[in-house]
Amino acid sequence: MVRPRDQGLSRRAFVKAAVAIGGASALSACLTRESGPDTPTDASDLPTGVPDPSSLPRRQHAWNDALPRDDHGNHVPPSHRVLLYLDYAGEGTPDDADRETLEAALGSLERAYPRTVEGSDTRSSGLFVTISYSPSYFDRFDADLPDSVDLPEPSALTPFEDPALDTPDALIHLASDYGSVVLGAEEALRGEQGTLNGVDVSATLDGVVERVDRRTGFIGDGLPADHQDVEGIPDSEPVPGDSPLYMGFESGMEKAQAGEDAVTIPEGPFAGGTTQQVSKIDLHLDQWYEQDSRSHRVASMFCPAHAEEGRVEGTGENLGNTNGVVESGCPAHATEDARQEGVVGHAQKAARAREDGDPLLLRRDFDSTDGGQAGVHFLSLQRGIEDFVVTRTAMTGSDLAREGAVGRQSNNGILRYMTVRRRGNFLLPPREHRAFPTPEPS
């Protein structure tokens, strides 16, 4: 499918570029450009947030009720993202003054922007903010995390990856359908803005934390196609104009996602929290788009039966709220497919890791052009990191490479098209402990 070329830089392309660059000048340019006919509500005219942030859900990861839904009932993830990797600026452990500063800074973002923006007939995402903490952060304390929290150090999880392991103390995730909102929030945290959306910014993180890395990205129909002039995507501009992700297919269907309850830590001092895993993955899609057939792409992404029976139209929007692999019995056939079909699908493999039929991961991942490279920031939430390890092991499919005709990466889902460059594990505490928690909060 050939997508007509945009004349000049489209509005949303411009906004995405501004988010990637960041800073006050990008914010200012972004605000000017981000009012257009397809914006549900003018970004410069958004309502303010909640007067009392403690009225927001205890679970930082409780986004679903506030997200828009598509025609199939799938939750639509916020389009623009920033991940801020932070180190505590002080020595030793943070004190109560640091906690108050951090809580005030986070709270001011929530007072400035609502999570949900209700338009006349559409809904969009205003601003979602989470903060999470790494095992390295908790190492600052003498006490250990309770057994109710499964948060090991990150590690390589396959024999063919060698990711750098992220050890910053904390990670703030900003997400919005408006590029200017994530940029503005970031500027406010840096102390560069006295007011945000007309709301006083009562505290900044300047002097409390140091930013050690900044990652950005996007997800949603058309955004990947608008940003395919990067390493990892061939020059033929192959990404379909209506695809939400670089690989050309829908993802994150409702039935392939864990529910928020399922990923929530049920007990202990961090009950109501969850764990978060973030992998930075480079994509290599030259072969995918230039040498593989459509049939192979469908078989590799979903399941050989999907290719055989022509179940996937275009990006797969026709699949609705499920990728259809479980309904087709694909997971149970993985070994047989590896032996008889010579191909196994990514979704087919991943769906082998389920608990009572339900997936273990709640994916909030997105694509990226960081460093001029097509990539994915694979952000997943799960009750404990072991759930990620189990799912990732199922997706790696070393058992299938050993028992079947598929290779470690060849014809083995989408492994040959990606390289995991970095990985970090984090605890996303419940709201009352989100500001510099100790390992044993009371």
Partner: protein, 383 residues
């Protein structure tokens, strides 16, 4: 019958010759040329000439190994060590080749911007044997840019045997840093390989790219032999590394089912693959179980390259029942070589052994191999 009739379909996903040039590539090209390049100007730079050099495929290719239309010389970039592995990096003129997905083949044509066909061979240094079960990734970078970062295809060619290769595009002449990373084999490891080869390892090379050097590589056509049931011989350069399996007559173990001749004649054929079938009194270290170990060594005719990444099962019937019915496991053993094996218990004279192929070898193919090793019928032998 052509092979197209026995598979679900074929695809030609070669790069479109008329595709436009992206801004990124356009700027790279314009900078190098100092002229306003346009999409149509590539032909004036000699790229059409490159494609025109490659002869058309022969018509009516047999469902078997056949002699290709042409062969090109190869330029060695270098040899290096990566942990326990030896790695050779080389290139030749861009090739057409076929990827394999199940029983489908997809022809990959030479693209207008392809600079070379880049190849990596990987062997175990101590054992001196090519490893058809490892995986490799290759990156090629220069001045902070990485124009090539991918996992080349596991391929089979008549001159090279098993190797990793792909057509790649480099923006301009110069010296590039090339890095080859070898991932551990996925096959079961037995003998001296048991418990080894668990870590990825990398080797680096200086890759000098000059389009003129690529263009001037020796090129030979075979108008008479092309399409005949024959094959080019292995290249001398790989001689110290065993990319070929031992002939049937020198293969370890006791023959099953008759002919195994000292002349290297073969026990069975299927889909033009040659199956050497043997039994060992005991499995190699690293394979579970005790009792007779069945070894099946499928290989290409003529050159005896291992047919890797297929799935095989064995059924043994005798004594009024089924003695064994199960998968044969892909196994890498320094003494036996790459094979498919299982402990089958005790066999008796007169037992009937059937070897069934599930998916055919999931290896990309160079010309002359793309129609062979499909539609592989069961092989039946009498013990």
């Amino acid at each position: 019958m052509t092979r197209d009739n026995v598979t679900r379909g074929t695809h030609d996903v070669g790069r479109r010759e008329h595709r436009s040039v992206s801004r990124r590539r356009f700027l790279a090209g314009a900078g190098a040329l100092g002229a306003a390049a346009t999409a149509g100007c590539l032909s004036s730079l000699g790229f059409e000439e490159q494609s025109a050099r490659v002869p058309a495929l022969v018509e009516n290719r047999p469902d078997a190994v056949y002699h290709p239309t042409h062969v090109e010389a190869m330029e060695m970039v270098g040899m290096g060590s990566a942990g326990p592995y030896g790695v050779a990096l080389s290139y030749s003129f861009p090739h057409r080749f076929w990827t394999v997905s199940g029983t489908d083949t997809s022809k990959v044509s030479i693209g207008a911007s392809d600079s070379m066909h880049l190849m990596a061979s990987v062997w175990h240094e101590e054992a001196g044997v090519v490893l058809p079960s490892a995986a490799a990734s290759v990156s090629v970078s220069r001045n902070g840019e990485t124009p090539v970062d991918r996992r080349p295809w596991a391929m089979l060619s008549q001159r090279m045997g098993f190797h990793f290769g792909d057509n790649v595009s480099l923006p301009e002449s110069g010296t590039y840093d090339a890095e080859v990373t070898v991932s551990p084999p996925s096959a079961r490891l037995t003998g001296a390989f048991e418990g080894a080869l668990g870590e990825p390892a990398s080797a680096s090379f200086d890759l000098e790219f000059d389009p003129e050097t690529v263009r001037s590589l020796e090129f030979t056509q075979f108008p008479e032999k092309a399409g005949s049931k024959a094959a080019l011989g292995p290249m001398d350069m790989m001689a110290p590394k065993r990319s070929q399996l031992p002939p049937a007559g020198e293969f370890p173990g006791d023959p099953v089912g008759g002919a195994t001749g000292s002349d290297g004649s073969d026990t069975a054929r299927s889909g033009d693959g040659v199956f050497v079938v043997r039994t060992l009194d005991a499995p190699p270290a690293g394979a579970d179980g005790s009792g007779t170990y069945l070894v099946v060594s499928p290989r290409t005719p003529y050159n005896r390259y291992p047919l890797a990444r297929m799935s095989l099962s064995a059924i043994v019937e005798g004594g009024g029942g089924t003695r064994f019915d199960g998968p044969l496991v892909k196994t890498l053993d320094p003494d036996i070589g790459y094979h498919y094996g299982a402990v089958v218990g005790d066999l008796a004279g007169g037992d009937e052994l059937t070897i069934e192929t599930g998916a055919p070898p999931q290896l990309a193919r160079h010309e002359g191999y793309e129609t062979a090793f499909f539609g592989m019928e069961p092989v039946t032998l009498t013990v």
